[in-house]
Amino acid sequence: MNAGAPGPDDVVLHVEDVRKSYGAVSVLKGVSLTLRPGRIHALAGGNGSGKSTLIKVLAGIEHADAGTLRGQGRPETDLAGFTAAAADRAGLRFVHQDLGLVLDMTVAENFALSRGFPTRLGSVSWSRLYRSTAAKLERFDLSVHPGAKVASLRPADRTMVAIARALADDEPGQVLVLDEPTASLPHHEVDVLLEALARGAAAGQAILYVSHRLAEVLSLAHWVTVLRDGVVAESRSTADLDQLRLAELIAGRSVEALYPARAAAPSQDRSSARPTVQVRGLCAGPLREVSLEAHAGEIVGVAGLLGSGRSTLLRSLFGAVSPRSGSILIEGRPLPASVRAAMRAGVALVPEDRHGDALFGDFSIVRNTTIATLRRHARWSWLRSSSERAATQSAIDDFKIKISAPGQAITRLSGGNQQKVVVARWLQRAPRVLLLDEPTQGVDVMARADIYQRLRTVAAHGTAVLVASSDVEELAHLCDRVVVLRAGRVTAHLRGAEVAIPAIVKHSYADQEAS
């Protein structure tokens, strides 16, 4: 992994002893980082580790109480009073999860937005702009035309355009800081991006890489710094590190297993019992002739690439998509294409897009928790807030949701805690069928373990759980069975020992012959 093996004196950026407190509580208690050229340096840590605060300090968004920063060939800067402009002068180049690209504009126009339009005789010189943009793109092996609209690019290329733009001024000693760059990328796009980043590092670029995704950290980064409770818990090479050990470093305790044990006795005895979910010959959206079953007590994974129909399948089971043909039976009864009917039949859906499809941004935690169970909190049509609070409190306790007050706005919670609230909302209905679409997207490793544990418990109490995910590892470890979709068709039903990453990946990419 440590291909470039740069000498110890080769330092692009040295951050020393960063301290930051909010009131009486220290969030960063003396954190130091050393970035070297050609090295991808991962920054890992759970919620509350201080990871985000450190990035904000480096970006000049939050002011540190103390700490220094020294770039290659640059004077030492005090991090107290560090501004965004100072961060730019120090050679730090940030690409955030929201790339800051205007989708309706061309690649070249997006470059010009941050660097200015070249002009000739007062009017924009498009040829010069295209030439200079093309040169920058070429450096990143990006086969993208400067005149292409950003909206027409594939997601990984958009990220690369944002990176190329961030590094466009070509100064020596630049450090690229990537904050969760793959969080919104589909699985196969992630690989494209990671390959490009590895090439960039091989060419000498120093990269600080922030990610929740452990597999990425291990495969991409040469070095990882793990923050925990505001201190550096570990800073080491990734060469001899595995996922379990990294998860333990982040959690600060031995993770017996991030994933709960599978159900004791699957399949055999169930084949006779009536399945909770029966799908026969379903055609809807991209789905073609999909048939599957799910029994009470098991967790069934739905794997497949973007566009394979994972989400459509779950939405059909929730009555939110009208099928063209085929049938869906819940506990033997046909399901009408209506969300309300599906809810009455005991189906619940945790949607993929948490902010767009699940959260009520200006509602409190309590109101977000009880919105699917309002009727039980009403007496003479009067919603009793004591009853709503009690229900929410028990969900918070069951689920270890970290909040300061139940009346707090939902948007103030971390992604992991927001997701727990959405899952808790549906668990209150004691669903017969629980559908989850990308349940751990943007969720940190500890909250993820809580959610997995909870799903296993729910299944054990007799619910059929269906999990659609682009995270193959999640499916391989969490699920009892996995159904693989490819271009709308089921290409494999994996069970028992077949439920493993290689098999899921193989069938996800499999060509037509598989069936």
Binding site: S21, G23, S52, F360, I371, T411, S414
Partner: protein, 343 residues
């Protein structure tokens, strides 16, 4: 998770917010109420207005004046909470007022029929708006501007521009100008409307669902709320309340006046937006709207009695509205602010 993983940042935020939170939220909730008290004291003490302002007669006049405006404001809240503007409430109340007066005067209908006719006219307009906006998914902003323009035109055609004031039943006139238990009679039905709407919007599942639709329609659909049905209901309720406002308008004016009502649109909306800064800050709410209406009415009354020039109340209302919208927007934005993810 184990205690060692408790987020430092989260607990830091907890401490700093917990202390200042109570004071700040009290200030947010009752700021406008305090301001209302201050306005009252100011004009009671100010030499120019002191003799007339704090008198029973003036207070009764102020309360009488806010009656219709409050109901119109509340009528506008229902669609607003569900995420839609409704500019037609004032025009609807005009139609309702004219219908009521025309039934009583031109058709010599009994009082109950006149009142029922006024209410039904309001409901009918509400149904039309609801069909266009909720069922056909047209833009509410434009549709209700359309109805707000169309309805006064129809009234003009029907009345020929002449108000209908003959043969208005005496009990209705008494409701408009008489007093009961020391307060204007018209305040009592308005109080019932306020209490009912406060209950429906704030304390029932229907109100909660309407808020949910206004907050995130896509998410509302995925928790089993019928977005169409809830939005439809909001416009029908809005029309019905505008109908009530119309009947009260007939009572206040002693008949149907062709230009009355329509000029109440902006005062009513001003009360709504002012109200968004109080009681339940950052959200449109019933009690806040009443406080907002009272604030504007008291201020205008005080300014008038203090001998301020004609233009002063207008300038005052305009400034109050812009300031109120700025405050309530900033409050809503802060409430919706994303907390540091994974700090």
């Amino acid at each position: 998770m184990s205690a060692t993983t408790l987020p430092g940042a989260a607990s830091a935020e907890k401490k700093t917010t917990a202390k200042s939170h109570v004071l700040r939220s009290l200030g947010e909730r009752y700021g406008l109420v305090l301001l209302l008290g201050a306005v009252y004291v100011f004009f009671s003490v100010l030499p120019a207005s002191a003799p007339a302002f704090p008198t029973m007669a003036n207070l009764q006049a102020v309360l009488g004046n806010i009656a219709v405006v409050s109901v119109l404001g509340i009528a506008a809240i229902f669609p607003l909470v569900g995420g839609h503007f409704d500019f037609s409430v004032a025009a609807t109340s005009l139609v309702s007022s004219i219908t009521c007066a025309a039934l009583l005067s031109d058709h010599h209908a009994p009082l109950a029929v006149g009142v029922a006719g006024g209410l039904l006219a309001g409901l009918a307009v509400g149904l039309v708006n609801a069909t266009l906006v909720a069922a056909l998914r047209l833009n509410a902003f434009i549709v209700t501007i359309g109805t707000a323009t169309l309805l006064p035109g129809i009234v003009q055609w029907y009345t020929g521009g002449v108000g209908i004031t003959r043969d208005i039943a005496q009990p209705l006139r008494d409701l408009g100008s008489g007093t009961w238990l020391g307060l204007p009679q018209v305040i009592w039905p308005v109080a019932v409307v306020i209490a009912t709407c406060w209950f429906v919007l704030g304390q029932t599942a229907v109100g909660r669902r309407l808020h949910a639709v206004g907050s995130n329609p896509a998410a509302a659909r995925l928790v089993g709320i019928s977005v169409t049905r809830v939005s439809f209901l909001a416009f029908v309720i809005s029309g019905g309340l505008a109908g009530i406002a119309g009947v009260l308008l007939t009572a206040r004016n002693g008949g149907g006046l062709v230009n009355s009502g329509v000029d109440l649109l902006f005062p009513a909306l001003a009360a709504v937006f002012l109200g968004g800064t109080a009681i339940d800050p950052g959200r449109y709410n019933v009690l806040g709207t009443v406080v907002g209406a009272l604030f504007v009415a008291l201020s205008v009354s005080g300014l008038t009695l203090a001998g301020a020039a004609d233009w002063v109340p207008n300038v005052f209302n305009g400034v109050a509205l812009v300031v109120a919208v700025a405050i309530s927007t900033l409050l809503a934005r802060r409430r919706g602010q994303t907390g540091a993810e994974g700090t």
